[in-house]
Symmetry: C2
Subunit: 315 residues, 2 copies
């Protein structure tokens, strides 16, 4: 059996095992692993970026490659309601690369790390015929802020922190040689993360996840981990003007960028009705949590199963 | 300026910065980073393995790729005098790879993890046109066991935990299509790590490092971090019979495998004279620490500067 037959999430199921230590509060299956230490929760996450798949040097300036590598990890800590602390950076490079290119890449990483109070404390530099960057970030949080994928309940509202699809629109523009509209291209090259609101949202959210593989995939993750269903209203999904413009230029549906694209690094979260007013300013309602037997659906005139989302190994 | 002009260690100097948190006891520049938490020391290390550079699927069975990826990280924790705890595993794979291959690779990782009490608590699975495995491992230790690269003092003895050079000999044999002698080939494919003795040695050693880039390189690291010099006696470097046999077959000097090869994952440690008898059974004396102004030398009839060791980007 080949990987493309089972996909990324099929593979993860096959290779996951239950950790032995009782301190492991959450293992594989959330944005970060959670270890309980006294009254605190220590968070561990990691993300790998491979040249050709996650960035291309012909359109991705090194500083932004570094920024994105660091931000995508901090985004995972944000999605847990945590504060990031330490980072380990592994990098594979070709021998004929310019030292200045690598310094620029690290400048990008340090800039984002500094902004969010992260110390890069170690790593590994090695040779590869392809550039690869792996960042691992630790963080910490407390019971009041810890927000898992598994906490959503029937009746909760589903919100996203900002318009989606920009990053995928930008990628499609770049692939076809377009240099405008600039906003989605910039969102793809330097997506940032939502530490600015994550801790505030975490106080009221029942579940949270970062949008790295598209809305459809993230909603399904929440439903699977929480054991519930969801109905998304397609027309409520926020898209910005530039992303819609990109859709026109590319003759592609901008809703598909939001649903099935990736790397927006916005937050998707659920809140009980009584908390909705407290988080309205942090996001847009896109749907509601329903009972598990109602499935994971999207309403767009008719109601359909919510499929898709970006998944590695399946194209 | 190109990377091959400054090498791995030149690059590390350029991209390292001093961490801001006062809890960072040791940052970049040891086998693992050390964070002080109360009376304990938390250890963080990471290693990346890239297909073609660190393993080749035509001769490296997947289970042993996995074993090596996990063992090389645990070796870093061992070299700090620590006990490993948690691991994050990132992996890039091609879509047309066999699921069974990946399962086998993870079986190898889990076997080594289980043996040393490590829980794999998270990771990242992604696509790449080249296979890449990054493992990050955390561990912990106490003041009595913590052993840095920086603690060696003039007069200390320098020991290695077992015969060296086997891994490099095995690699050279494999490159040329030999299937024997088996011992060095096995040492290259499945080097293991020295957790079995590391904690005991740590109680008496003044400095310790794992031998991942060859004896020459590791001695220089100890000297640099400790601000001292060293004299290695070439004829005392332990080589096993099979490694010497490989040298003959390949018409290469087996001492070069030990001095300048890599991936033996044995321990190199220094001890003050009064502790020598307590650690004799864990290793072989290969030299002594001397004052800084005497340099880092090797004695082989005449005394020469100890150069070389494996360094990425420079071939």
């Amino acid at each position: 059996m080949k990987l493309y037959e089972i996909g990324e999430f099929g593979l993860i199921k096959k290779i996951s095992r239950t950790p032995k230590r009782k301190e492991v509060f959450v293992g594989i299956g959330d944005d970060a692993a959670v270890i309980k230490v006294g009254e605190e929760f220590i968070l561990y996450t990691t993300d790998m970026m491979v040249e050709g798949d996650h960035f291309r040097t012909e359109w991705h300036p090194p500083e932004k490659i570094g920024r994105k590598a660091m931000a995508s990890n901090i985004s995972d800590i944000a999605a847990m309601g945590g504060m990031p602390e330490y980072a380990l950076v592994s990098i594979a490079l070709r021998s004929d690369m310019e030292v200045e290119f690598v310094e620029s890449l690290y400048k990008g990483m340090y800039d984002v790390a500094d902004r969010y109070g992260v110390d890069i404390i170690g790593g590994d530099t090695t040779h590869g015929s392809l550039m690869v960057i792996n960042v691992a970030v630790t963080g910490r949080t407390d019971k009041g802020h810890l927000t898992l994928r598994s906490g959503a309940k029937t009746g909760d509202y589903i919100l996203v922190s900002a318009p989606l699809g920009g990053s995928r629109a930008g990628l499609e523009l770049l692939k076809r040689g377009y240099k405008e509209p600039k906003a989605p291209i910039e969102k793809h090259l330097d997506p940032g993360c939502r530490m600015d609101i994550a801790r505030d949202v975490a106080l009221f959210a029942s579940a949270m996840i970062d949008v790295s593989d598209g809305l459809a995939s993230e909603v399904r993750h929440i439903c699977e981990e929480s054991g519930i269903g969801a109905i998304i209203e397609r027309e409520r999904i926020p898209l910005d003007r530039e992303t819609m413009k990109a859709g026109k230029i590319l003759d592609m549906d901008p809703y598909d960028f939001a649903l099935h694209g990736g790397e927006d690094y916005e937050l998707l979260f659920t809140v009980p009705e009584e908390n909705l007013n407290k988080v309205r300013r942090y996001g847009t309602v896109v749907g509601r949590i329903v009972d598990k037997d109602m499935g994971v659906r999207i309403e767009n005139g008719e109601i359909m199963d919510l499929k898709g989302g970006y998944e590695h190994f399946i194209e």
